[in-house]
């Protein structure tokens, strides 16, 4: 049931304009790099440019002596140079090209650059490892002494369901395939920035930053300063996109700015150039995905075995969390009785991988959704029928043996998409084309565990405060990244309170103002993060209702509210304004504000076997892409993309569409043009001229199909969308390219050379 409006809400399910839109169209929204403080200095970093080396000697005397230079720090100057996660603020052991060996604070950005050039460093270069194969080779050089064989032990996650050997014995057709994905850059348009402002009187360090997760940033700052967290205050500025990228990287620059600010006693700003941003921010993990899958002649998949290895780069980069999600989703949207999955990361002397929109799903779906078609073809079956035959349904057991008790509408979604796009007809027609330009159509399905699930604690807090004039201030530790969280939370508070959205103001995160509510990641903001908002607003509603009942001279059970007016249920003419109730509330000395905490239910998941309930619920998606491949040049033109997503409840359809369109663009880039080229650890694509994201002219015709269902888990039944919006696009395009050319793309991106020759020629034909 593609919606809309089938659900009965006052403020949800409606395309309410973004609450932060006005500031943004006027250019007055303040991003971190826009800030200026009296006496402010500028900070900068000297990066090694080498992939693996020891600093033999570093001489900063010349830099220190320069006019306008206030501080120069090297590894030895810090009490603690290694962050709480194992990144280095400043290091004497270079593990990748972006590693920092010295930092500078000076009066102007120009002087910073001059000072950095004046620092003399002698390195002792070391042999490095760069690919998964090199990292795992016998006697390979080690990236970290604590990680033997370069294996990131904590990132190993298995899934063991049934018995794959017995399963394969029942199969008539078994195929084995290997797929590879590339490094992907978030490419948010705003490079990272922060300003650290010391308070000389009480010793508090306030950092205004482009943090996706200000509480995460706070850990770094308290860590580098070796002070209590109560002396660190992080104020999130308007964030110019993040997609998972402004986590560790911003923690590092915030830490460096803070130590420079502490040493100099002056505010210090660090704003990264695009090149630095690409060097130091995390990347989407490249994966090597080996699959073995088998089915009976009738097309029932009986067993799946997979070994996934991801390239983590030089530092501890969330691989140990992400690979849990990877393991849970490796078998795709299919009910398979026997599953054996192992996912593990390896360290290399490359840029580090970390969180990026999807958190392993784009890579897995790219492989999995081609694998399923390769098996269908081997069986001589129609890929749609084959999918539906094996698809997860309500009541199915997933690979982790979780029973899907909430409604699963995947089949309905597939049918709708197939019909709307004329998939079957086109697919047949495209098998026989003449001429150099060949069209193809491809489909991919996906599912995604909503929120953190068994990965982490999906708790959150929120405050809702009524003011005497009937306006409301809300706050949460979750943040606006651009996705529209402020708007969604305002809508949710409005829905609960019965007050128009315009009267609600979301503060934005200041870590001194509210408790750590966990990270705004995992597409959990609306689904799980807003549970506390709903709860707090609900409690405040009940409290205010008592005052309203008094004013209406009726029993509290008979009071309801709509559009900011309380009324008596049987007698709606007996009414009182929300503002009057708030006013009375204040002057009666009654409670005006509620802080509520939401604790998620225990999921019961066993990480040693990968069995149990991995997530409270799952959202589903289905994407159809149509391409035209120029078989003489390898150019892939994406013509049409139709994306269907089951969002449970569409809190704001306009914002949902925005997420889907943006997700398609990012998925397209992943599929055909984007790759952070790394050659022995050196990054070849350091700016947006060579790292190629789609422009307006590259975008296909897009259509969105928003599905709703009745799911009990998320806030108002909402399910995750931010990451689902991009995760299946690459796979659909890869399947479309196959339909057009008859050649499988098993290594991304499907760029000119890959499509024409079947191999990469980038970076000198590696």
């Amino acid at each position: 049931m593609p919606l809309l409006g089938s659900k009965n809400y006052d403020y949800l399910n409606k395309p309410v304009p973004r609450v932060d839109a006005l500031d943004k169209v006027l250019g007055r929204a303040q991003y971190a790099a826009d800030l200026k403080f009296p006496q402010m200095l500028y900070g900068g970093m000297l990066r090694s440019g080498l992939s693996h080396a020891k600093v033999a000697k570093i001489d900063v005397a010349k830099a220190k002596a320069m006019d306008g230079v206030f501080e120069v720090l090297t590894y030895g100057d810090l009490k603690k140079a290694k962050s709480w996660a194992n990144y280095m603020y400043i290091t004497d052991t270079v593990r990748y090209v972006g590693d920092v060996v010295a930092i500078v604070a000076a009066e102007t950005p120009e002087i910073v650059q001059d000072a950095l050039k004046a620092i003399q460093v002698e390195y002792q270069e070391l042999p490095g490892v760069y690919t998964i194969e090199e990292a795992l080779a016998k006697d390979a050089p080690l990236v970290h002494e604590g990680a033997p064989d370069n294996i990131f032990k904590e990132s190993h996650f298995p899934v063991r369901k049934g018995d794959v050997e017995k399963g394969f014995a029942q199969c008539e057709v078994i195929i084995e395939r290997e797929y590879h994905t590339q490094y992907i850059e978030h490419a948010y348009i705003e490079p990272e920035a922060c300003v650290a402002v010391p308070d000389p009187i009480d010793g508090t360090m306030t950092v205004f930053s482009s943090s996706q997760n200000p509480y995460f940033t706070r850990r770094y700052v308290a860590d580098i300063l070796q002070c209590g967290m109560h002396k660190v205050r992080i104020v999130q500025q308007t964030l110019g996109g993040s997609f998972g990228g402004k986590e560790e990287g911003v923690g590092l620059i915030a830490g460096r700015a803070a130590i420079l600010a502490q040493k100099t006693g002056r505010p210090v700003k660090i704003a990264l150039t695009r090149e630095e941003s690409i060097l130091e921010s995390s990347k989407r993990h490249p994966f090597r995905l080996k699959y073995k899958i088998g089915a009976t002649r009738e097309g029932k998949i009986m067993a799946l075995e997979a070994e996934l290895v991801d390239n983590s780069g030089a530092y501890n980069n969330q691989t140990q969390f992400m690979n849990f999600r990877a393991a849970v989703h490796t078998a795709g949207v299919y009910e398979i009785p026997n599953v054996k999955v192992d996912v593990v990361g390896v360290f290399t002397n490359n840029i580090h991988s970390g969180a990026m929109r999807g958190y392993s799903s784009p890579q897995i779906i790219f492989a999995q959704e081609q694998l399923i078609e390769e098996l269908a073809e081997e069986l001589g079956m129609n890929p749609i029928e084959f999918r539906k035959l094996n698809a997860l349904k309500t009541g199915s057991l997933t690979a982790t043996s979780q029973e899907l008790v909430e409604p699963v509408i995947l089949e309905e979604m597939i049918d709708t998409l197939v019909q709307k796009t004329e998939y079957s007809k086109k697919r047949e027609a495209y098998k026989n084309q003449s001429g150099p330009k060949k069209r193809g159509i491809g489909i991919a399905t996906c599912f995604r565990g909503c929120g953190f699930g068994a990965e982490s604690v999906d708790a959150s807090g929120a405050t809702v405060t009524a003011l005497e004039d009937g306006t409301v201030i809300i706050n949460s530790g979750l943040v606006e990244n651009g996705q529209g969280l402020k708007t969604a939370y305002s809508q949710i508070a409005a829905e609960v309170l019965g007050v128009p959205v315009e009267r609600i103001h979301f503060i934005g995160v200041d870590t001194h103002s509210i408790a750590d509510c966990g990270m705004t990641v995992a597409s959990r903001g609306t689904v799980m993060g807003s549970q506390a908002m709903k709860k707090a607003a609900g409690e405040l509603k009940e409290i205010l209702k008592k005052t309203a009942a008094e004013m209406l001279n009726t029993h509290v059970d008979k009071v309801d509210i709509k559009d900011g007016v309380y009324f008596e249920v049987p007698n709606p003419k007996n009414k009182v304004f929300f503002s009057d109730v708030c006013n009375k509330q204040l002057w009666s000395g009654r409670q005006m504000s509620v802080f509520a905490w939401y604790e998620p239910k225990n999921l019961n998941y066993d990480h040693h076997t990968g069995q149990g309930n991995a997530f409270p619920t799952y959202s589903f998606g289905c994407v159809v892409a149509e391409v035209e491949v120029d078989t003489e040049t390898g150019y892939v033109d994406v013509l049409n993309v139709a994306a269907g997503h089951d969002v449970g409840t569409a809190v704001n359809p306009a914002l949902i569409k925005g997420q889907i369109y943006g997700g398609i663009a990012m998925g397209m880039g992943f599929a055909i043009t984007e790759e952070v080229e790394v050659n022995k650890g050196k990054v070849g694509t350091l700016n947006l001229d060579t790292y190629i994201i789609p422009t307006s002219m590259d975008m296909p015709q897009m259509s969105t199909l928003i599905f709703e269902c009745d799911d009990k888990e998320g806030t108002y039944g909402a399910k995750s969308l931010g990451e689902p919006a991009t995760e299946a696009v690459g796979a659909a395009i890869a399947n479309a390219i196959y339909n057009a050319t008859g050649r499988r793309i098993r290594q991304l991106p499907a760029d000119l050379e890959k499509v024409l020759l079947g191999k990469s020629l980038r970076g000198g034909g590696k």
């Binding site: 150019y635 001229d689 590259d698 024409l756 020629l761 034909g765």
Partner: protein, 289 residues
């Protein structure tokens, strides 16, 4: 960002005087779309620059005019102005096509034809049509004026042999014969803001029987220096283009590429693709799809 002093001559003459004075220490800025990037990146070839001489405001170098059989374009004419010029669209439509594939609207509003030539990027989109047109350049200096062919100035990628005190003021070329059809193709990795992986310009003149009387074929990012591919052009002469002939012409272009550049890591891709693009650009010029 490199540091330099800013000089703003009021005329071409004054610009020449400044160039004569500062020579290698000075660099001329026109639209700045390439130079500003190089200055920011502290490009090694600019390390001795102490002065930037801004000529962008010199309106006298902004024109497109017909002069008998010739078309003359002032060096400071922007890509956007060329794209919108009726004169250009009528006489040499492939040049309009080519300049409109440069960068983005913002770049086309600032970037100039003279700047594009002097930057000497092998992937420059305006260059192949100009090469096909046998364009000539007018250079001035305090010592006087000289004219050279466009082809003669390219030394290697991003390097020309213009003297440090010389200023490019005009590019001009003879209009094409009647019955000439032109086209330009750019192959990039995306549709805007793209660096040409390869590009190619073609101008084909047919007689009344449909036979080729003149052919000009100029690829970009294919040869070590921009040039026409005479072997491919000569092959077409006197013949009516058909598929087989065009395939052969394509092979002539790839042969020329390998002859001049040798086999490189990219040859495996470029060879078949430049062959296909050659056929395609001629077909497009002739209106065959």
């Amino acid at each position: 960002m490199l540091k330099f002093d800013y000089l703003r001559p009021g005329s071409v003459k004054e610009a020449c005087r400044l160039l004569a004075q500062h020579k290698e220490k000075a660099k001329v800025i026109a639209g700045g779309t390439d130079l500003m990037v190089q200055l920011r990146d502290e490009d090694k070839k600019l390390k001795d620059i102490a002065y930037v001489i801004d000529i962008n405001h010199l309106k006298e170098l902004k024109y497109i005019k017909k002069d008998g059989d010739y078309l003359r374009i002032g060096a400071l004419t922007t890509h956007d102005e060329i794209y919108k010029s009726e004169l250009i669209n009528e006489a040499v439509p492939f040049l309009a096509q080519a300049v409109n594939t440069v960068g983005s609207p913002q770049i086309r509003h600032r970037g100039t034809i003279g700047g594009s030539i002097c930057n000497a990027s092998p992937a420059a989109d305006p260059v192949p049509p100009l090469v096909a047109l046998d364009a000539q350049l007018k250079l001035v200096s305090a010592k006087g004026e000289r004219e050279v062919s466009l082809l003669s100035i390219f030394e290697k990628p991003y390097v020309t042999n213009l003297a440090p005190d010389e200023l490019l003021v005009e590019v001009y070329f003879k209009g094409l014969p009647e019955n000439t059809k032109t086209s330009f193709i750019k192959l990039g990795r995306r549709k805007a803001l793209a660096i040409a992986r390869m590009n190619i310009a073609a101008a084909i003149t047919l007689d009344s029987e449909g036979k080729v009387v003149e052919a000009r074929i100029a690829p970009g990012s294919v040869l070590p220096k921009p040039d026409r591919v005479r072997t491919a052009e000569e092959l077409l002469l006197g013949k009516a283009p058909d598929q087989k002939l065009l395939e052969e012409a394509g092979r002539k272009v790839s042969e020329e590429m390998i002859k001049r550049s040798g086999i490189r890591w990219s040859t495996e891709y470029k060879k078949p693709v430049i062959e296909a693009l050659t056929q395609r650009v001629i077909n497009q010029a002739l209106g065959v799809e």
